[in-house]
C-alpha cells in the first residue's frame, strides 16, 4: 500500500517520534516510579500525624472532633510535661557521655601509640550493632539495687550495706544510652582523624606551635564538624530511644516521650490522637536538630581527604599509653563484656535473685524461647525469631533495590526530581522510629495490611532505607560517572549499563548496606512495638513480651540469642565491608 502518507513518512522520518516519546525512556520511567513510592511512603505518615494531632478524642473513646486539646495536654497534663523534661535531660546527658567517650576513644585509636589499638577497634564498635534495649536489661541485672550482680558482689565481698549502684532511674537510662551510642560519635570522628593530611599538623608544628597548641588550633577545629555531627545524632537517637527508658525509667516513675507515646498507642489509655501529638512534638525537635546537622554542620566538614593514603601523625604517649589502654579496656568491659556475660549467667538460672547458683544452671530457658516445637515454648518469642528473619531479609532486600534506584537518580540524573528525592531521603532520618510508626499506624490501621507483617515491613523500609541509600551513594560518588557514560557510548542501553557496569561496581556498597539494614531490622524495637499485634511479634518485641510477662532469665535467654545472631552478622559485615565502611 502506498498512500501519500506513507510516502511522506519515508521522506521525513524526522517527524515520526514526537517530543513526549523521547521523554519516555527506561531511565525516566524507573526513576519516576521510585520517587513516587518514596514520596508516598515518607510524606503520608507525617502528614497524617500533623492532621490527627488536631483531632480530639471524646471521653467515650469512640468519636473525635477538631481542636487544640492535645496540644494543651502537652503543657498541662499530669505526666507529659515531666516526660518531656526527662527526655531532654536523658538526651543531653547521653550526648555528653557519648561525646566524651567517643572522641577520646577515637583519638586513642587513630592518633596514639596505645598498644593493641588495631585489635580494640572492632570491640569499641560492637555496641553500635547491639540492641540498647538488651543493654538496659543487662545493666538492670548487673546493677539493680536488690538483684544486681555487681551489688550482690559488693555486699558479699566489700561489705557494702544496701546497694552500691542503682541503674533503675534516669541516671541509669543516661548511662546505658550513653555507652551504647558512643560508637556513633566514634565513627564520625575516627574517620577524619585517621584520614587527615599529616602535613596540616606538620606545618603548624614548623611554625613553632607545640603539640598542645597544634591539637587545639588545627586538629580539633578540623575534627569539630565530625564531633558536632556525632553529638547531634546521639541526641536525636537518644530522644527517640524506647527500649532503655522502658526498662530502666518508666517502671520507676521516669516516663519519657517515647514511653508515653507507646502507652497512648497500645496501652490501656490508648489515644492515637494524643499519641500523634506527642510524636509531632518529639519529631519537631529531632527534625530541627537533624536539619542543623545535615544542612549546617555536614557541609562545613573540611575535606581533609585528598585521595592519597595517609599515615596520620601518631602521638607517643610514653607511659601514659598503658593508661589509655586501660581506659579503652574499661569501656569495652562495661559496654560489651559485662552486659553479655551477665545476661548469659542470668539466662542459665530458673529464677534470678542476684546470686549465682551453679547447681541450678541449665539451658532450659533457651528451649522455651527458641524451640517452637517444644511443648512449653513461648509463642511470642519463637514467632519473633521467625518474623524478624523474614522482615530483615525482605526488608533489607527491598530497601537496597530502592536505595540503588534512588541513589542513581540523585547522583546520575540532574534536575528538580533528584533534589526533591535527596531531601526526601533525609526526612526519615529526622524522625525517630516511634514517631514514624505512629504515623504509619494512624494511616494504615483501617487497611488490610494492619496486623500483618506488611505494615512492619513498610515502617522498617520507610524509616531505614536512607541508611542503605547512604552506603550506595558513598560508593556511587567514589566511582566516576564516566564509567557509566562510556558504557552508553559503547552502545549499551540504560538497563544494560545498570546490569553490567553500575551494579557490579556498586556490589560491595550494596552488600554492606544490605547487611547493615539486616542488622538494624533484626534488633528493631521502637517501630515494631507500635505496629505489632499477636502473631506478628519480632525478636525485640519477644524480648519486650518476656520483660513484661515472664521473668528475667527467660528475657536474658532470648536477649543472648539475639546478641549472638547480631555478633555473627557483625563479623560477616567486617569481613565484607572492611573497617572503613562505617566511617565514611
Amino acid at each position: 500500500m502506498s498512500s501519500p502518507q506513507a510516502a511522506l513518512g519515508t521522506l521525513a522520518p524526522a517527524r515520526a517520534p514526537s517530543r513526549w516519546r523521547s521523554l519516555v525512556t527506561q531511565e525516566s520511567v524507573a526513576t519516576l516510579a521510585a520517587s513516587l513510592v518514596v514520596a508516598a511512603a515518607v510524606l503520608l505518615p507525617l502528614a497524617t500525624l500533623i492532621v490527627s494531632s488536631f483531632l480530639v478524642m471524646d471521653r467515650s473513646g469512640f468519636d473525635a472532633h477538631w481542636g487544640l486539646d492535645n496540644y494543651r495536654a502537652l503543657v498541662f497534663d499530669r505526666i507529659i510535661p515531666k516526660a518531656f523534661v526527662n527526655t531532654l535531660v536523658i538526651s543531653t546527658g547521653a550526648t555528653v557521655l557519648a561525646t566524651v567517650l567517643g572522641v577520646s576513644l577515637a583519638w586513642i585509636n587513630a592518633r596514639t601509640n596505645c598498644p593493641w589499638r588495631e585489635g580494640l577497634e572492632p570491640f569499641n564498635l560492637i555496641p553500635f550493632f547491639l540492641s540498647p534495649f538488651v543493654g538496659a536489661i543487662a545493666w538492670h541485672n548487673l546493677a539493680a539495687p536488690k538483684t544486681g550482680l555487681l551489688n550482690a558482689w559488693a555486699r558479699d565481698y566489700l561489705g557494702v550495706q544496701g546497694h552500691l549502684l542503682n541503674v533503675d532511674n534516669i541516671y541509669g537510662v543516661i548511662w546505658v544510652t550513653g555507652i551504647f551510642f558512643t560508637p556513633l560519635v566514634y565513627l564520625f570522628v575516627v574517620g577524619s582523624l585517621r584520614r587527615m593530611d599529616p602535613a596540616l599538623e606538620d606545618s603548624a608544628r614548623t611554625t613553632g606551635a607545640g603539640l598542645l597548641r597544634t591539637t587545639l588550633t588545627v586538629t580539633l577545629p578540623l575534627v569539630l564538624p565530625g564531633i558536632l555531627s556525632g553529638a547531634i545524632i546521639v541526641f536525636v537517637t537518644s530522644a527517640g530511644e524506647f527500649g532503655v527508658p522502658f526498662k530502666l525509667g518508666a517502671p520507676y516513675g521516669w516516663e519519657t516521650l517515647t514511653t508515653q507515646i507507646f502507652s497512648k498507642a497500645v496501652g490501656d489509655d490508648a489515644n492515637h490522637y494524643l499519641g500523634a501529638t506527642m510524636a509531632m512534638a518529639l519529631g519537631a525537635i529531632t527534625a530541627v536538630f537533624v536539619w542543623i546537622q545535615q544542612r549546617v554542620i555536614a557541609p562545613r566538614a573540611f575535606t581533609t581527604v585528598t585521595g592519597k593514603g595517609f599515615r596520620p601523625n601518631v602521638v607517643d604517649l610514653g607511659g601514659w599509653k598503658w593508661v589509655a589502654l586501660g581506659y579503652n579496656l574499661v569501656f569495652i568491659l562495661v559496654a560489651v563484656v559485662l552486659p553479655i556475660l551477665c545476661l548469659f549467667v542470668v539466662s542459665l538460672h530458673p529464677v534470678w535473685e542476684g546470686g549465682i547458683i551453679p547447681r541450678d544452671m541449665s539451658f532450659r530457658n533457651y528451649q522455651k524461647v527458641l524451640f517452637f516445637w517444644s511443648p512449653d515454648s513461648i509463642q511470642a518469642a519463637t514467632n519473633g525469631i521467625f518474623n524478624s528473619f523474614i522482615l530483615a531479609f525482605a526488608g533489607a532486600s527491598i530497601a537496597m533495590v530502592l536505595s540503588l534506584v534512588v541513589s542513581y537518580m540523585i547522583h546520575r540524573t540532574k534536575g528538580f526530581g533528584s533534589r526533591l528525592l535527596d531531601f526526601l531521603c533525609v526526612v526519615p532520618i529526622g524522625f525517630p522510629g516511634i514517631v514514624l510508626a505512629m504515623g504509619v499506624l494512624v494511616v494504615y490501621i483501617k487497611t488490610p495490611i494492619y496486623a500483618t507483617l506488611w505494615i512492619l515491613l513498610l515502617g522498617y523500609i520507610t524509616r531505614f532505607f536512607p541508611y542503605g541509600q547512604r552506603n550506595v551513594s558513598a560508593v556511587m560518588l567514589a566511582i566516576s560517572e564516566e564509567l557509566d557514560q562510556s558504557s552508553r557510548m559503547a552502545g549499551a542501553s540504560w538497563l544494560t549499563t545498570l546490569r553490567r557496569i553500575t551494579i557490579p561496581l556498586l556490589k560491595p556498597g550494596i552488600f554492606a548496606g544490605w547487611l547493615l539494614l539486616f542488622i538494624i531490622f533484626l534488633r528493631e524495637l521502637s517501630i515494631s512495638i507500635i505496629l505489632y499485634t499477636t502473631g506478628t511479634e519480632t525478636l525485640s518485641v519477644g524480648v519486650y513480651y518476656l520483660v513484661n510477662f515472664e521473668n528475667e532469665p527467660l528475657t536474658a535467654a532470648l536477649s543472648i540469642a539475639q546478641t549472638v545472631v547480631l555478633l555473627a552478622c557483625v563479623v560477616l559485615f567486617r569481613r565484607i565491608a572492611g573497617r572503613e565502611a562505617l566511617t565514611a
Binding site: 524526522a14 525512556t25 566516576s480 564516566e482 557514560q485 562510556s486 559503547a490 552502545g491 542501553s493 540504560w494
Partner: protein
C-alpha cells in the same frame, strides 16, 4: 587558507560537512553554558574545541555524545539526525555509534583490558571469534597486546589511556570524541601521547572532536581548532592561522604568548595594512602593521606581537623601533626571555643567548610590520 568567521557557518574549503552542529544552546539554570554554537567537520578530520574551563567545550562534546539534552539546536552526523530540538528528536547515546575517550579514561575496574575492549562488540552481538580477532587487532594498534589479560586497575595512567582509546575505536564508530584525555598524564607522557593519538586517529581515519584547554595540544594535533569563550565561538581555523592571525585580543592571549597593547588605527595605507597608534605611560608611537579582520580606520584595536617577532638590540636599525630598558632576563637554554620596559608597558621578548642582554641596559626593540597585527579588542 580559510579563516572562518565567528559564526563558523562556512566549512573548510573543498570538503563536504560530515558532523553538523547548528545553533546549539544548553543552559544550566540561568547560566548559558553553550550559547548558539554552530560548526561542521569534514569526514576524517580532527577538530579541537579549545578554551578555558567553563567555556562550554565539554558541554558541546557531551551534547554530541547525547549525554546532555539540548535546549535548542540540531546535531547531524553523515545525514543522520542525532538531536533536533525543533523536531523533538533525540537519539539515545547508545544508538549514536560514537566512540568516546573520557578524561578519567573510565576503564571499568571489574573487567580485564580485553573485556573492556570487547564490551562494545559484545553489545553489538558479534560472534566470539570476530570479537577476539578485533580486540586483538586493536590492542596491537595501541600497543597493549601484552596487557590483554590484566585488570584495569593494574595499568598505569598511560596504559589506561590506550585501553580507553582501543575501546572507543574497536567498533569502528562514526565519530570519535575526546574529553581532555591527556590532562591526567605527566608532561613527558602527554607529549608522547599527543603524537601517538594523532597517528592512530589518522590510521583509522575516524572523524574526531577533541576537547582541551591546552593550546599546545590543540596546535600539535588538530586539522582545525575552534577557540571558545563563555559558550561562544571566538575563532575557527587551522592551527597556523589561529596562531599567526588571531581574530581578537582573547584568542591572541589564549594561544601562545603575545605582547598586547591597546591603540587606535591611525590610517589604512593599503587593504589589510595600516598604522596603529599606541601609547603606554608617557610614550606614544605610530607603528605600521597588518590589520586583522574587522579592524577599520579610526577604530580601537589591539596590537598583538609574539615575543619571537620582537628583536632587541643595543644599536638601532632603520624602521619602526621603540627604546626601552631591560628589567629582567630569564635564561631558558635555547633562548633568553627578556622583559623590556617601554613607557608603562613591559614587552616580552625572546632574545638569542648570544645577545647577552643585562638588566638596566637601554635597548631598541624592532618590530617587523609583517608580524605585527592589529586585532579587535
Amino acid at each position: 587558507m580559510t579563516v572562518v568567521n565567528a559564526a563558523g557557518t562556512v566549512a573548510a574549503a573543498g570538503a563536504a560537512p560530515y558532523l553538523e552542529v547548528r545553533g546549539l544552546v544548553k543552559t544550566f539554570g540561568a547560566d548559558r553554558a553553550v550559547d548558539d554554537i554552530s560548526f561542521t567537520v569534514p569526514k576524517g578530520k580532527f577538530l579541537t574545541l579549545l578554551g578555558p574551563s567553563g567555556c562550554g567545550k565539554t558541554t558541546t562534546l557531551m551534547s554530541i555524545a547525547g549525554l546532555h539534552r539540548l535546549d535548542a539546536g540540531d546535531i547531524r552526523v553523515g545525514g543522520t539526525v542525532f538531536t533536533s530540538v525543533a523536531d523533538g528528536l533525540f537519539l539515545p547515546p547508545e544508538k549514536r555509534d560514537i566512540g568516546m575517550v573520557f578524561q578519567s579514561y573510565a576503564i571499568w575496574p571489574h573487567m580485564t583490558v580485553a573485556e573492556n575492549v570487547a564490551y562494545p562488540l559484545a553489545i553489538r552481538k558479534l560472534d566470539r571469534a570476530e570479537i577476539d580477532a578485533r580486540v586483538d587487532e586493536v590492542l596491537r594498534l595501541v600497543g597493549l597486546a601484552a596487557m590483554a589479560g590484566k585488570l584495569a586497575t593494574q595499568l598505569s595512567g598511560g596504559q589506561q589511556q590506550r585501553a580507553a582509546l582501543a575501546r572507543a575505536i574497536v567498533f569502528r564508530p562514526r565519530l570519535l570524541l575526546f574529553d581532555e584525555p591527556l590532562s591526567n598524564l605527566d608532561l613527558k607522557l602527554r607529549e608522547q601521547m599527543r603524537v601517538e593519538l594523532k597517528r592512530i586517529q589518522r590510521e583509522v581515519g575516524i572523524t574526531s572532536v577533541y576537547v582541551t584547554h591546552d593550546q599546545a595540544e590543540a596546535l600539535v594535533m588538530s586539522d582545525e581548532i575552534i577557540v571558545m569563550s563563555k559558550g561562544r565561538i571566538e575563532q575557527r581555523g587551522g592551527p597556523h592561522d589561529i596562531y599567526a592571525r588571531p581574530l581578537n585580543r582573547y584568542v591572541s592571549n589564549f594561544i601562545g604568548v603575545a605582547n598586547l597593547l591597546e591603540g587606535r588605527v591611525a590610517r589604512v595605507t593599503a587593504p589589510g595594512r595600516g598604522e596603529l597608534e599606541i601609547r603606554a605611560g608617557g610614550e606614544r608611537i605610530q607603528l605600521p602593521c597588518r590589520l586583522g579582520e574587522g579592524v577599520a580606520e579610526g577604530a580601537a584595536a589591539v596590537l598583538s606581537v609574539r615575543p619571537e617577532n620582537v628583536q632587541a638590540a643595543r644599536e638601532h636599525r632603520s624602521g619602526p623601533r621603540l627604546e626601552g630598558e631591560v628589567i629582567e632576563t630569564i635564561f631558558l637554554g635555547n633562548c633568553v626571555d627578556c622583559r623590556v620596559r617601554w613607557g608603562g608597558f613591559e614587552w616580552k621578548v625572546l632574545a638569542h643567548p648570544r645577545a647577552a642582554l643585562r638588566p638596566g641596559e637601554r635597548v631598541y626593540l624592532h618590530l617587523d610590520p609583517e608580524h605585527s597585527l592589529a586585532v579587535q579588542p
